[in-house]
């Protein structure tokens, strides 16, 4: 369980997050949605201790993110950032192998290699495993980064817009893979999505943010109604039901 209590954040004098209180239960897929600048990435970077907490507290399975040693936490939570930069002259397999760093401090055992291969397979990267990162297309690169995050093997996986650059096929494949690891391996996935139909189809729970506040928290059916969506995104959109799930016609 991720428990966020009274978390606020400001850059100099600009407030970014206001008194966030949020509990993300263990297991399942939680989608974080909201307009640009809502504070989604900021919240994830606080959960993953990429920046220090200014006020409030965040615990993951009872471990305080500001008090638990960083190597310890790296075995519990993994984050893929929205704008990851990658060092050059790095092969895909090496990058994915770095995901195993928290477990062996860089020495890869046979088990580590199996996990790396499995992550490569999950993202359909086996054919690219020995290519240099800078020779890949944007979407292939993004898949390699997701593979590295999954290879970390943590119970909590935070993904900031992982569908960026992915085509429809791989976006769907990734969402299905995340659904599967949540259902079969009991992992907790928190994923920032802009495609709310992906959120509707694959997430158990939607957390909506706007202006640094949590403005909605519930099942897709509860959040994806014309009124709630208008409150979040500021325009009216048609919502249909398809296969029992809300289908938002936001582009019309």
């Amino acid at each position: 369980m991720i428990r966020i209590e009274n978390v606020s954040l400001r850059y100099r004098t600009t407030p970014i997050l206001h008194d966030i209180d949020l509990t993300i239960p263990k297991g399942g897929v939680t989608a974080l949605i909201g307009p640009n600048g809502a504070g989604k990435s900021s919240l994830l970077s606080l959960i993953a201790r990429l920046q220090p907490l200014q006020t409030g507290s965040i615990t993951i399975d009872g471990l305080g993110v500001d008090s638990t040693p960083s190597p310890e936490l790296a075995k519990v939570v993994a984050l893929l950032r929205q704008d990851s930069v990658i060092a050059s002259r790095l092969r895909v397999r090496e990058l994915v192998g770095f995901g195993r760093f928290p477990h062996g401090r860089g020495r890869l055992t046979q088990e580590d290699c199996n996990i790396v291969n499995q992550s490569l397979r999950q993202l359909d990267l086996t054919d690219f495993a020995d290519r240099f990162m800078e020779t890949l297309s944007g979407g292939q690169r993004q898949r390699a980064l997701v593979a590295m995050t999954l290879a970390q093997g943590t119970d909590y996986i935070l993904l900031d817009e992982p569908l960026n650059n992915l085509d429809m096929y791989y976006a769907r494949t990734l969402m299905q893979a995340l659904r599967a690891i949540a259902d079969e391996n009991g992992k907790t996935v928190v994923i920032v999505l802009h495609d709310i139909n992906q959120a509707s189809a694959y997430a158990d729970r939607i957390v909506a943010m706007k202006g640094g506040r949590v403005v909605g928290d519930g099942t897709p059916a509860a959040i994806f109604t014309p009124d709630v969506l208008e409150g979040i995104f500021g325009f009216r959109m048609r919502v249909e039901t398809f296969d029992g799930k809300p289908l938002v016609l936001h582009h019309l």
């Binding site: 970077s45 770095f98 760093f101 970390q152």
Partner: protein, 313 residues
């Protein structure tokens, strides 16, 4: 595959060392050999120190153009040295035990480097900004150095006078044992940090996600870089582009940025260039002091090339 290239580099390095020791041996052989062995040891330390400090510095700053000397670290070392002469006076400085002196100089450099560079490394800066900061810092320390030089009287100045160009021919042998200890220590630490360095090269956010304590790790690495820079600068003086040249070559040859391969490759190439070049210049070209000029010339051109190519990428 990289392993085979490493072995080839190792063979080349050993060949250069043998050539350095044995070429044109005549006269009192035992005496000449001893002299050459001392010089060889110093050159090895310089090569290894520069390779280590450059690789680590580039990894931490996340670029392949900056080196400790371009960021003015060797100027900082010379400044620290001059500061000691200034504070202690020429007599006081000279009468200090050389080990103590070198020890204090290393510590001074570490302290100065951490105060000045650490704020810049907490978050990775844009390459252009780093470069600008480096050039400014370098100029600043060099001017402070010459300011101090003007303030102390000429006799004292002679004690601290340090060439503005490296001289691989006139290495200092009085520091040999101490410098060997520092270099060996740095080499061991760098080797043990090879996996951590791989992760550090991903940048602060990814490294933190993988459980690296960024500030602590970067501080440690910066101390390691400072120690290595102090060794090479103390032994031969400042070398601006040698590190850049060596690491760029190493990267081309082993074709990876993984430190388990890159670190030894860079060290071996540094040895080949230094020891081989010194042998060549001493015996074939008959002008042993020109090596540093040639290295700096080629390195400088490479620096410009990397800048131009890098900005176009």
């Amino acid at each position: 595959m990289p392993d085979r290239r490493l072995i080839a580099l190792g063979v080349a390095a050993v060949a250069c060392m043998v050539a350095f020791l044995l070429t044109g041996l005549r006269g009192n052989i035992a005496f000449v050999l001893e002299l050459r062995a001392i010089k060889l040891a110093a050159l090895l330390q310089v090569g290894v120190s520069i390779a280590i400090s450059t690789v680590i510095f580039q990894t931490v700053t996340g670029n392949r153009i900056l080196t400790p000397s371009i960021m003015g670290l060797d100027a900082l070392y010379l400044f620290g040295q001059m500061l000691m002469v200034f504070l202690l006076g020429g007599i006081g400085y000279v009468s200090l035990d050389p080990w103590l002196k070198f020890g204090v100089e290393i510590l001074t450099l570490m302290a100065l480097a951490c105060t000045l560079l650490l704020p810049m490394l907490k978050r990775r800066l844009d390459m252009g900004l780093m470069l600008l900061a480096g050039v400014i810092l370098g100029v600043l320390f060099r001017s402070l150095h010459s300011l101090l030089a003007r303030l102390i009287d000429p006799n004292e100045f002679a004690v601290a006078q340090s060439a503005s160009f490296a001289n691989f021919n006139a290495v200092r042998s009085d520091l040999l044992i101490f410098a060997t200890l520092v270099t060996a220590g740095a080499a061991v630490l760098a080797w043990r940090a090879r996996h951590i360095l791989d992760i550090v090269s991903l940048g602060s956010d990814a490294a933190t996600s993988l459980g690296i304590s960024w500030v602590r790790t970067v501080t440690g690495l910066l101390l390691l870089v400072s120690g290595s820079v102090a060794v090479s600068t103390a032994l031969v003086g400042p070398v601006a582009f040698f590190g850049l040249l060596v690491v760029a070559l190493a990267e081309r040859i082993v074709d990876t940025r993984r430190h388990a391969v890159l670190l030894p490759a860079a060290a071996l190439i540094a040895i080949v260039v230094l020891v081989g070049g010194q042998t060549l210049f001493q015996h074939a070209l008959g002008n042993s002091s020109a090596l540093s000029v040639v290295i700096e010339f080629i390195g400088g051109i490479l620096f410009l090339l990397l800048l131009i190519l890098g900005s176009r990428r």
